[in-house]
């Protein structure tokens, strides 16, 4: 897949894609960024520069003291402002890098400003942008002018062309330069962007990848455990409870209705039946059988049918990755439970599940009053953790007045 400018430039369809324009935009904004950078650094560099000028001109006495003072002020300002300016610049540049490819967020600062390697990478990038940038932009500018100036120079006879062959040659050369220019823009911009990426968007360190892996392992272990608990509850507890309830039922047949035991038995019978219903709900929450046997659509349909809300389900009947199905189901179940808890029973809820490329997009939207706060209940944060462990993410929007929208995006490569 093409996701950076340098990769795009080697593609056969490069010229007819959006990439030349993205490359052009990147180069143009690089020129602006470089200019802004020089303006910002003019403040600490001006005293240093003055000091150098003073020394250069061979002055003596008081001038030397002034030069030393200016030099000290310059170096101090550079040490104080430089790294901070470089980090701000780096932030802006990461944002600009999105023009020519995906950018992941860097980790937060480690250690203090001067010991964090990220600071010095940002400083290095600042030098690249301030010194390297203008050089390659200049080269590009000269070639660009050559290409663009062709019709103008022909019209105003700036270049002398005394033969038709010369005119045609110059015009064709100029025209040919335009695609070449696009390639050059992409190449220079691409190399600059690649260096910027190297300095500003470091690959996640091995330790972070390992943490993510162990989180995934844990999520798998939890899923397996959930499955085992569901099996045990179903195969042992539920069956015994049914048998127990039946035995109480049989015992009640032989008790005279007026006896004190009959009343106690009737109460025990009721409790056993309530427990049976509660146990069923509990198991459904842990690991629904319908989900594993029939898939997400069927399981959510059952959930919708059992809910007190008016739920519209819009899910394709195909099967998805088991892990994605399980997290999606948990999210939908939690969202419906939350809505049922906080909103009127007449509230309409729409559950949509779509597959987009390699992602599964789950959305639960309700017409309730909004104001859901993930910090208040552990349900949503727990879900967000599960989504993250599965390599996805959970988003919640719930402005006061509604509607509440819960969205979960999960990787779904099966």
């Amino acid at each position: 897949m093409t996701n950076t400018l340098l990769q795009a430039v080697t593609g056969r369809r490069f010229l007819v894609s959006a990439w030349p324009w993205r490359g052009f935009a990147y180069c143009a904004t690089t020129a602006v960024a470089s200019g802004v950078l020089w303006l910002l650094f003019a403040v600490p560099l001006a005293p240093l520069f003055s000091a150098v000028v003073v020394l250069w001109s061979g002055q003596t006495g008081g001038y030397l003291i002034v030069a030393a003072g200016l030099g000290l002020v310059g170096v101090g300002m550079l040490a104080l402002l430089g790294p901070r300016l470089a980090l701000s610049m780096a932030r802006a540049e990461r944002w600009r890098l999105r023009l020519v490819g995906d950018v992941s967020l860097p980790p937060g600062r480690r250690g203090n400003l001067y010991t964090d390697p990220a600071t010095w990478r940002a400083v290095a990038y600042t030098v690249l942008l301030g010194v390297g940038g203008p050089m390659w932009l200049g080269v590009l500018g000269v070639i660009g002018l050559l290409a663009l100036s062709t019709p103008i120079s022909v019209e105003y006879r700036i270049s002398v062309m005394d033969s038709p062959a010369g005119i045609v040659g110059r015009a064709v050369g100029g025209l040919l330069l335009i695609p070449v220019l696009f390639y050059l823009i992409a190449l220079f911009g691409g190399v600059h962007a690649a260096l910027a990426r190297l300095l500003l968007v470091p690959e996640p360190s091995e330790e972070l990848v390992e943490v993510a892996r162990s989180r995934t392992r844990m999520a798998h272990a939890f899923d397996a455990e959930r499955l085992r608990i569901e099996r045990d509850l179903h195969d042992i507890a539920q069956q015994r409870l049914v048998a127990l309830t039946m035995q109480i039922g049989v015992a009640r047949l032989d008790l005279p209705p007026s006896s004190p035991a009959a009343a106690a038995m009737a109460s025990a019978h009721e409790q056993a039946k309530t427990l049976m219903a509660e146990l069923r709900d509990l198991i459904r929450g842990i690991s629904p059988r319908a989900l594993r046997d029939l898939g997400l659509q069927a399981a959510v349909e059952e959930l919708a049918a059992a809910s007190s809300l008016e739920v519209h389900v819009d899910i394709a009947s195909s099967r998805f990755l088991a892990e994605a199905e399980s997290v999606a189901y948990a999210a939908i179940s939690e969202a419906l439970a939350n809505t049922a808890k906080h909103a009127a029973t007449t509230t309409e809820v729409t559950v949509t599940v779509r597959r987009k490329a390699d992602r599964l997009l789950v959305e639960v939207r309700d017409g309730g009053g909004g104001g859901a706060d993930p910090a208040r209940g552990s349900g949503l944060t727990g879900l967000a953790d599960r989504a993250a462990a599965a390599g996805g993410r959970l988003l919640l929007s719930s402005p006061a007045g509604g509607p509440t929208i819960l969205r979960v995006e999960l990787p779904c490569v099966s």
Binding site: H234, T245, R252, H269, R280, I283, R289, D293, E301, A305
Partner: protein, 216 residues
Amino acid sequence: MRVVIAEDSVLLREGLSAMLPRFGVEVVASVGDSPTLLAAVRRHRPQLVVTDVRMPPDYTDEGLRAAVALRTEDPGLAVVALSQYVQHGYAGELLASGSGRSVGYLLKDRIGDVAEFAGQLRRVAEGGTVVDPEVVRQLMQHRRDPLKQLSAREREVLAVVAQGHSNAAAARLLSLTEAGVAKHIGNLFTKLNLPVSDDTNRRVLAVLAYLRSRSD
């Protein structure tokens, strides 16, 4: 009434075998998986089969598959499926077999009310249809499309007749006259677009239509 029971939980199987004779139900065989069920039914020729939906080896819907297969061989065989919870896809398929006659789908919760449970088995053996009140409750609560046109009273009547009660029993339960119940039933048949025929089980076709629409 001769019955074959299929249930993989020994406790429950033995309990049912001990309890049902008290209500005049003869348990001719009780088995723990679907191949044995098929063999037992072919040997004993019972009037009714009571089967768990999930059984070994895969614990999915073996009991139901066996029941549907048995009813294809012998459409007159009455079947009651017992399930731990409502599964629309499964329920719809069984209830639709044999045009909805002599078939029942009940949650295991209902076994607790032993006398009522025995009565439901008898109604199914006599050609009736019994749908679990929980299925009916979910149906009524959401009032899916075809049922939206029913009045509140008609929905109540449908809820009662779907459980296999006769017009007279429905009249008693809802404090209506029998003629009143008949009128409501007539109205809801018309509203649900059910064909006029001799089929006494037309009354549950409404429930079946709902279940089928959800299992597609």
